[in-house]
């Protein structure tokens, strides 16, 4: 295993130190492993808390700041944080208007956030669960679709709405609407290596790739021979469009790198994706290309499409000032 780390058991602790020191937008509660805004938002505003296993950076700690999250709980690598962390985050950021929990649909995350909401005492908590990964089929016979890329777009859009002063019900309603309107699909060229394990989670021969991966280094739904970018674009575009009609309104498109894929490849893939979307009659109103929700050092990419109405687009364009996403501020 080759990584820029110290003791593999303490990667999260050590990475939070660096995040704290390099990011003026946040301060880190190291005891609870909670990333908080350096400048708390004003009283009376709904606060947004998310979190999950680490290894997906910049998600979620890199999305704490004006216009996005108020706090993010950092679990161990690929392991949901605990209810204690979530309670600490929730009580720290509540400004009297309640807190929205943004939870990616994984059994562990859902259960831990459930327990946290029960334990949050007097703070009013609403929860939105993202489950946008179309790679998970037959979702009634599984733990349901995984929450992946839509989480990023949701945190941005709903963060802007909370900043405007909407109440918790309105914020939660919008969040559910965003969650319902987005779909994702990903592929991996390599596995990733969990630091505490020290070797790749799965073996992938040099001529094979995984299709339909999540963000936890798990193998995908199927293994296929490595293909050119144009064919990989088909593998990720088609299942999304087959699942949700994306031609009825403009979309926000995110082409996301899994952590070890360089930007030049993401640019190239975006070109292939964009031309397929054009052919399918999908209008891309906004796009984002880069590493936003990663799987440690996995090579590969995922595509997220969000059917965005005018309100979502307006909120998308609103100022945001976080380590991972910044404009207008």
């Amino acid at each position: 295993m080759k990584k820029l780390i110290g003791d593999p058991q303490h990667v999260i602790r050590d990475a939070l130190v660096g995040l704290d020191k390099s990011t003026p937008q946040v301060r880190v509660d190291h005891d609870n492993r909670v990333v908080l805004r350096a400048e708390p938002k004003p009283d009376g505003r709904v606060a947004l808390v998310s979190g999950g296993g680490s290894g997906h950076e910049p998600l979620h700690g890199g999305f704490v700041g004006l216009g996005m999250l108020d706090a993010a709980c950092a679990g161990e690598v690929f392991t949901s944080p605990t209810p204690d962390q979530m309670v600490a985050a929730t009580t720290a950021v509540d400004r009297g208007a309640g807190v929205l929990h943004i939870v990616k649909n994984y059994t562990g995350d859902v259960m831990n956030f459930e327990m946290a909401a029960e334990l949050a005492g007097s703070v009013r908590v609403e929860t939105v669960v993202t489950d946008d990964d179309v790679a998970v089929q037959d979702s009634s016979f599984t733990a349901g679709r995984r929450g992946v890329g839509v989480t990023v777009l949701l945190e941005k859009i709903v963060g802007a709405a909370a900043e405007e002063g909407r109440d918790l019900d309105a914020v939660a309603e919008l969040a559910r609407r965003v969650a319902d309107s987005g779909r994702s699909m990903g592929v991996a060229l390599t596995s990733c290596t969990v630091p505490a394990v020290g070797k790749p989670t799965f073996d992938l021969p040099d001529d094979q790739m995984e299709v339909g991966i999540g963000i936890h280094g798990e193998p995908g739904r199927r293994r296929v021979p490595v293909a050119p970018a144009s064919e990989i674009a088909e593998m990720i575009v088609e299942p999304i469009l087959a699942d949700l009609d994306m031609t009825t309104s403009p979309v926000i498109a995110m082409l996301n790198g899994m952590g070890a894929t360089p930007l030049i490849e993401l640019h190239l893939m975006y070109g292939e994706v964009a031309s397929l979307l054009e052919k399918a009659g999908v209008t891309v109103a906004r796009s984002l290309v880069g590493n936003y929700i990663t799987s440690l050092d996995m090579a590969g990419c995922s595509l997220t499409l969000l059917r965005a109405d005018d309100e979502m687009l307006r909120l998308w364009d609103a100022p945001v000032n976080t380590a991972g996403l910044r404009w207008g501020a």
Binding site: E76, F78, S80, P81, P83, D84, V194, G214, H216, R221
Partner: protein, 212 residues
């Protein structure tokens, strides 16, 4: 000598469990690499070690205090799927055994059943979904049968451990319908479920602690 599980025996159970989880840490992670996300060994080892530390520091005098401390510690140090589930198991077991210094076989059987029910309520998995339930459910049933049949605690726990092992092995051909492994669909078949493996260790540790 009365046939009960004492605070000392329950502590020994926990210590034995933490030890075997440490010893099997890489194996549990290996299993989770195949159909999950390669953290089950680390999760269980972190949690059981923290629970032992907590219990040795607090020295609770009653079973409920002990087992509640274990459950709370697991919930607050493990995270992931196994944290809330094993945490719930111990919290329900604590409630069922009550504010006592020891528990007789029937009470322990009822406590284990309560723990299992808690795990099912929280995780909503059924037998055959390829989860820890597939080891826990037969283990609890075997324990109950043994106690009803008049076995002493050690023998009942040993029967439970054997049933858990068999349940664990029986997860191998299954297609997962809960947890991360379910994302793999048919590719999940052919691998033992990591949570079933850690549950089998839980009952084997109980058998060891009660045999001693």
């Amino acid at each position: 000598m009365t046939d009960t599980i004492t605070v000392a025996a329950a502590t020994a159970w926990l210590e034995a469990y933490a030890d075997v989880v440490d010893a099997q840490r890489d194996h549990l992670t290996e299993l989770d690499s195949a159909i999950g996300d390669a953290d089950h060994g680390a999760n269980m080892s972190r949690g059981t070690r923290a629970a032992v530390d907590k219990v040795l520091a607090d020295q609770p005098a009653h079973l409920d205090g002990l087992l509640k401390a274990v459950g709370m510690t697991l919930v607050s140090t493990v995270g992931g799927t196994s944290g809330p589930l094993y945490g719930t198991f111990f919290l329900r077991l604590a409630a069922a055994l009550g504010h006592e210094g020891e528990a007789d076989p029937a009470t322990l059987a009822a406590g284990l059943r309560a723990g299992l029910d808690g795990v099912i309520a929280r995780g909503k998995a059924e037998a055959g979904d390829k989860t820890m339930i597939d080891a826990m459910d037969p283990a609890v049933a075997a324990f109950e049968r043994a106690v009803t049949g008049g076995s002493v605690l050690g023998a009942a726990a040993s029967a439970a451990a054997d049933a858990a092992d068999a349940g664990r092995d029986a997860t191998e051909p299954l297609i997962a319908r809960k947890g991360r492994a379910s994302y793999l669909g048919e590719r999940s078949a052919g691998h033992i479920d990591p949570g079933a493996a850690s549950t089998a260790l839980l009952f084997r540790s109980l058998a060891e602690a009660l045999a001693a």
